[in-house]
């Protein structure tokens, strides 16, 4: 389960209407070896947004046209998982609070210390990676669940509920032997190393 970096490099996406700020931020990213891409407006970013590209978004909260908060709203409605770090000006605290409530990873006030921003970016990138791994894991489980036959699915649900084979056989009106065969299939298809593992996977999938 190490899917990233094969196709996409982790990128810091910088959206700010102020060119020098944008440019200096991009330079800061490069100085610490991070890949950066800059956008002069929220629309410009949205047009090239690719959900499969890992990274994080550094977003100016005040911009002409679509504001940072509005871009966040758009991304939320697209179920995007990219972490957002808002850059706020003086007195933008109420806006920043609202951004956090709507799922922003963090915010930082201008002017800021480079290390503070880099720390936040690193944290956001870690979060992004974690999010993507979780997402991949859930997708894998979902694929495996989809490969079960209806009968196997039925048996699996009863297994996860913790019922012994004997009881399941009674419930489904089949022989205990048949239940055992189904159970072995389920464990095999789900690549479950143990009953506990299977239960964890099913819970994971249900959460997702």
């Amino acid at each position: 389960m190490r899917p990233r970096e094969t196709e996409h490099r982790t990128t810091v996406f910088i959206v700010d209407d102020d060119a020098p700020v944008r440019d200096s931020l991009s330079m800061l990213m490069k100085s610490v070896g991070l890949e950066a891409e800059t956008f002069a407006s929220a629309m410009e970013f949205l047009e090239s947004y690719d959900a499969d590209r890992p990274g994080c978004l550094v977003l100016d909260i005040r911009m002409p046209g679509m504001s940072g908060l509005e871009l966040q709203e758009q991304l939320n409605s697209m179920h995007a998982i990219i972490p957002i770090i808002f850059i706020t000006g003086h007195g933008d605290v109420p806006m920043a609070v609202s951004a956090i409530q709507h799922g922003a990873a963090d915010f930082i006030q201008k002017p800021f210390r480079d290390q503070d921003l880099l720390d936040r970016i690193n944290k956001a990138l870690e979060q992004d990676q974690h999010n993507r791994e979780t997402l991949l894991e859930i997708r894998g489980i979902e694929q495996r669940l989809a490969s079960l036959t209806p009968r196997e699915h039925e048996v699996m649900e009863l297994i996860v509920e913790g019922r012994p084979n004997k009881v399941i056989a009674g419930d489904l009106d089949v022989s205990q032997r048949t239940v055992e065969i189904h159970r072995a299939r389920v464990m095999e298809k789900m690549k479950a190393s143990s009953l506990a593992h299977l239960v964890r996977m099913v819970m994971r999938a249900n959460q997702g």
């Binding site: 102020d18 020098p20 700020v21 440019d23 200096s24 931020l25 330079m27 800061l28 490069k30 100085s31 610490v32 005040r62 850059i87 000006g89 003086h90 007195g91 605290v93 109420p94 201008k110 002017p111 800021f112 210390r113 480079d114």
Partner: protein, 635 residues
């Protein structure tokens, strides 16, 4: 026409003689005819009436006594009567036309009796010449028509009532006014039908008393009548009573005039006069009338106030007395030319001499009022005190300018926020470039063009920040700082007017505790008011953010060091311990959306005025911000 006489006269010679005597003596003409209409007997009166000899009449048809077409129809009429027994005249009598021998016709009264006979009926006709009566009747009718004509022509209403109050006479004008036909009104009860409901009982009582002789009929009266369509009209009456020979009252005769419109017009005129009088008396401008020799006839209270002389003391005096001596002659000749008709109005600036010997600049407007024959009657004038207008105009303008400036200041917080943003952008870029450049250098991966480019960017952004600061300075310098002698309390009251809007919106009372008779300070009013406004707003914010609604108190005091101290006290949470050191530093704020500029700017303003701005936390709760201003010792 027929008559019958008994044939057996010989048997009644006495009766016959008597009858003949009667015929001869009768004043009426008597003609007896047989059933075929032949005349058998005529008396002398008949011969006289028709102008015939007896032998010219006897034996001839009675139709000889009638003009066409009656003469032709008479035979048919007789024949019909004999056949059907249906008579039109017999036993009734009627007016018919007679034809004399000389061919003239005349009116006559004819009555006919039938004499039943063994052989055939006879008819007796008795005739009376009614020419004279007819003439009298005609004369009477003529007189009546003429009287009715007079009644109808009369422009007044003529109304005759009998003693029961019923209408016995009403002329055309009366009918028209009431909207009825004459026949609808005659016999009707006047008061019941034509008097306004409210007035009925009173008039009815008066009429009863009048008829019973208990009251005199007033010669003139006035009441409201109701027309058929329900409208009311006001009528004035001239009344007289009608008495019979014994002197008893049998009715009244009145002539009435509809004065509704005239009364309405009169009322309007009266109201208009009253309004004019009110306008005159209460006009904000001095207003006066004077005769053609400039003697004052009336003056209103505004004029009296303006020149400080009672209205009563002005009357009769010459208007020229009120004018500055230098201008009297010129004005008198201008007014004279106007009276002479050279021009109709006059409007000029004039210097007046009020009683207290001030000089008063005024605009004088005079017009001539003419009588109906276009002769000048009197002059009417208006005087506007220009000194007052000039002064009030100047003061209003000053106050407005100052309030605008103070108002502009109140947006300072917003302005500061946008300035902060403008400065933050280049500062952020500068810091980030510098830090990135340092990292590149430290990493050893940097090449010279990179570093050169970064340094250039840093320089440009620093320049950009400088530009922002410079434009801010320019903005602040637009308003030159001025120094005026100011009454501190007036300044405070002006600012409180502005701040009160905010305060009331938050249910906070602004309370003033100002010391009287403070010496003036020398200061820039706008800047000082900015500071006061800022302190009040800070107080309001502190109260609002902490949900307190206690009053904010603004003090003015003269301190022992002869400086005036102005302070603003709120019952908010006071200044937090960690803020104590930094209250006046720029960009330090305890407010969620504050800039931290207000107190910093305020302190520089007060310092520039030679005063100090300070604060203290009050025991219990709240904070007091105060500043001092030096008094204008030098005047």
């Amino acid at each position: 026409m027929a008559a019958g006489l008994p044939t057996e006269q010989k048997e009644l010679p006495h009766a016959k003689r008597q009858f003949d005597a009667l015929l001869d003596a009768a004043a009426d003409a008597i003609v007896i005819i047989d059933h075929k209409g032949r005349i058998e007997t005529v008396n002398p009166a008949a011969l006289r009436m028709f102008g015939y000899e007896r032998n010219e009449m006897v034996g001839r048809n009675v139709s000889m006594l009638m003009p066409e077409p009656f003469s032709c129809e008479h035979d048919d009429y007789l024949a019909e009567y004999r056949r059907t027994g249906h008579a039109r005249i017999i036993g009734k009598g009627r007016e018919v036309i007679g034809l004399r021998n000389d061919g003239s016709t005349f009116p006559l009264d004819l009555s006919i009796g039938e004499v039943q006979d063994s052989v055939a009926p006879r008819f007796v006709g008795i005739m009376r010449d009614i020419t004279a009566r007819k003439e009298v009747e005609k004369a009477l009718q003529f007189e009546r028509d003429r009287a009715q004509g007079y009644l109808d022509l009369a422009a007044v209403i003529l109304l005759g009532l009998d003693q029961d109050g019923r209408i016995r006479l009403i002329n055309k004008r009366g009918c028209e006014l009431l909207g009825y036909e004459e026949h609808e009104l005659l016999g009707c009860d006047w008061i019941d039908n034509c008097i306004r409901s409210d007035d009925k009982p009173g008039i009815s009582r008066l009429f009863r008393k009048l008829v019973e002789g208990e009251a005199e009929l007033p010669d003139n009266s006035e009441n409201w009548v109701v027309t058929r369509s329900g409208k009311t009209r006001l009528i004035t009456w001239k009344n007289s009573v009608i008495r019979d020979e014994s002197g008893a009252i049998i009715g009244t005769l009145s002539s009435g005039e509809d004065v509704t419109d005239r009364r309405h017009t009169a009322e309007q005129l009266r109201q208009r006069e009253e309004q004019l009088e009110l306008v005159f008396q209460n006009a904000p401008l001095g207003t006066l009338t004077m005769d053609l020799e400039f003697g004052l006839q009336s003056a209103n209270s505004a004029l009296s106030r303006m020149i400080g002389i009672l209205e009563i003391d002005l009357l009769g005096r010459s208007f020229l007395d009120l004018i500055h001596p230098d201008q009297r002659e010129g004005l008198a000749s201008q007014l004279g030319r106007m009276v002479a008709g050279e021009h109709t109005t006059l409007s000029r600036q004039t210097r007046l001499l009020p009683r207290d010997d001030r000089e008063l600049l005024a605009r004088l407007s005079v017009g001539v009022v003419h009588d109906a024959d276009q002769r000048p009657k009197f002059l009417i004038g208006q005087i506007e005190d220009l000194t007052e207008r000039i002064n009030s105009g100047r003061e209003a303008r000053q106050l407005r300018d100052r309030l605008t400036q103070v108002g502009r200041l109140s947006t300072m917080g917003e302005m500061a926020a946008s300035i902060a943003h403008e400065i933050n952008q280049p500062l952020t870029a500068v810091a980030t470039y510098a830090q990135a450049g340092k990292r590149l250098l430290d990493s050893g991966r940097a090449d010279l063009p990179d570093i050169s480019n970064t340094l250039e960017q840093i320089g440009q952004q620093a320049q950009r920040a400088g530009d922002v600061i410079r434009s801010l300075r320019r903005f602040l310098r637009q308003r030159k700082s001025s120094r005026e002698r100011l009454a501190v309390n007036d300044m405070i009251r002006e600012v409180v007017l502005l701040a009160d809007v905010d305060a009331r919106a938050h249910n906070v009372e602004l309370r003033l505790d100002l010391q009287d008779d403070l010496p003036a300070v020398v200061a820039d009013p706008v800047q000082v008011q900015q500071v006061i406004l800022n302190l009040i707003r800070n107080g309001l914010d502190a109260l609002r953010e902490n949900g307190v609604a206690d009053p904010i108190i603004i003090y003015s005091r003269l301190r022992p060091d002869n400086k005036i101290e102005i302070s603003v006290e709120d019952a908010g949470p006071g200044v937090a311990t960690e803020m104590l050191e930094r209250v006046f530093s720029p960009f330090q704020t305890s407010k969620a959306d504050g800039m931290g500029m207000g107190l910093s700017i305020s302190r520089s303003i007060i310092a520039a005025h030679g005063g100090t701005l300070g604060f203290e936390n009050l025991p219990g709760k709240g904070a007091r911000f105060y500043f001092s201003l030096p008094t204008s010792v030098l005047g």
